[in-house]
């Protein structure tokens, strides 16, 4: 655990939580489950970061229309994260490029990081949860 945990004046400890998303949506339940836990964590006023690596970048692709597969389209929820003060969304540059995607294909504003930056960001966290 970090030696420098920030605390609110009267309240509980605030920890830095990172959610690592590495799976495409719909093919497995991981993406949706991650989003659920992110929203719960945010409710407890924690410092939440989301990172999207490998097939996780597909979670953020614009224009998802799931009527045909009979599964709820949960992608609009990423736009709602802002309302829960979850504003730190990071995307791995190499993962985007390997999939022929750019920031313009994504449905929310993100910060694109290279592998070194991503690794440094991970090292700053108190808790890392992987989906």
């Amino acid at each position: 655990m970090s030696e420098q945990q920030a605390t609110t004046p009267s309240g509980p400890t605030v920890k830095k939580f990172m959610f690592v998303n590495r799976k495409a949506p719909y093919g497995t339940i991981y993406a949706l489950e991650s989003l659920e836990v992110v929203l719960i964590t945010a409710t407890f006023d924690q410092d939440v970061s989301l990172v999207f690596i490998d097939d996780g970048v597909y979670e953020l692709v614009k224009g998802q229309q799931t009527k045909g597969i009979g599964i709820k389209n949960f992608s609009p929820s990423y736009r709602a994260l802002d309302g829960y003060d979850v504003e730190k969304l990071y995307v791995d540059q190499a993962s985007l490029e390997q999939r022929g995607l750019t920031e313009k294909d994504l449905l929310v504003p993100v910060e694109v990081l290279d592998a070194q930056q991503m690794g440094q960001l991970m090292a700053q966290q108190d808790v890392i949860l992987s989906f």
């Binding site: 799976k23 495409a24 719909y26 093919g27 490998d54 097939d55 597909y58 998802q64 229309q65």
Partner: protein, 99 residues
């Protein structure tokens, strides 16, 4: 025969193994996360284009729509709906779902 692949080409080697063994004249149907292989600009694009030369390659439209990538379909890959999926399984005497 009909080969059905439902895994992302970035997550497993399923598509690669399938394509190594598929014979000319066979069909490949991409479904679920397998459809990402049928998108332009991806690292799998050249492999799929190569496959299109000897195989009939199909992708399930509902799965492309769900993932927001229908507009990125590689030309040479044919979109099918669920009825088309059933037709393919009837047309080919053997099907293999590469799980």
């Amino acid at each position: 025969m009909l080969h059905i692949v439902n895994k992302s080409p970035f997550q497993t080697t399923t598509l690669e193994s399938c394509l190594r063994m598929a014979q000319p004249g066979h069909a490949l149907l991409l479904i679920e996360d397998g459809i990402y292989a049928a998108t332009v600009g991806s690292a799998a694009e050249s492999r799929v284009r190569q496959a299109c030369a000897s195989l009939k390659v199909y992708a399930l439209q509902a799965d492309m729509d769900a993932r927001g990538v229908t507009a990125k379909l590689i030309d040479g890959v044919t979109l099918v709906d669920y009825a088309g999926f059933v037709d393919l399984t009837a047309e080919y005497s053997t099907s293999h779902s590469w799980l």
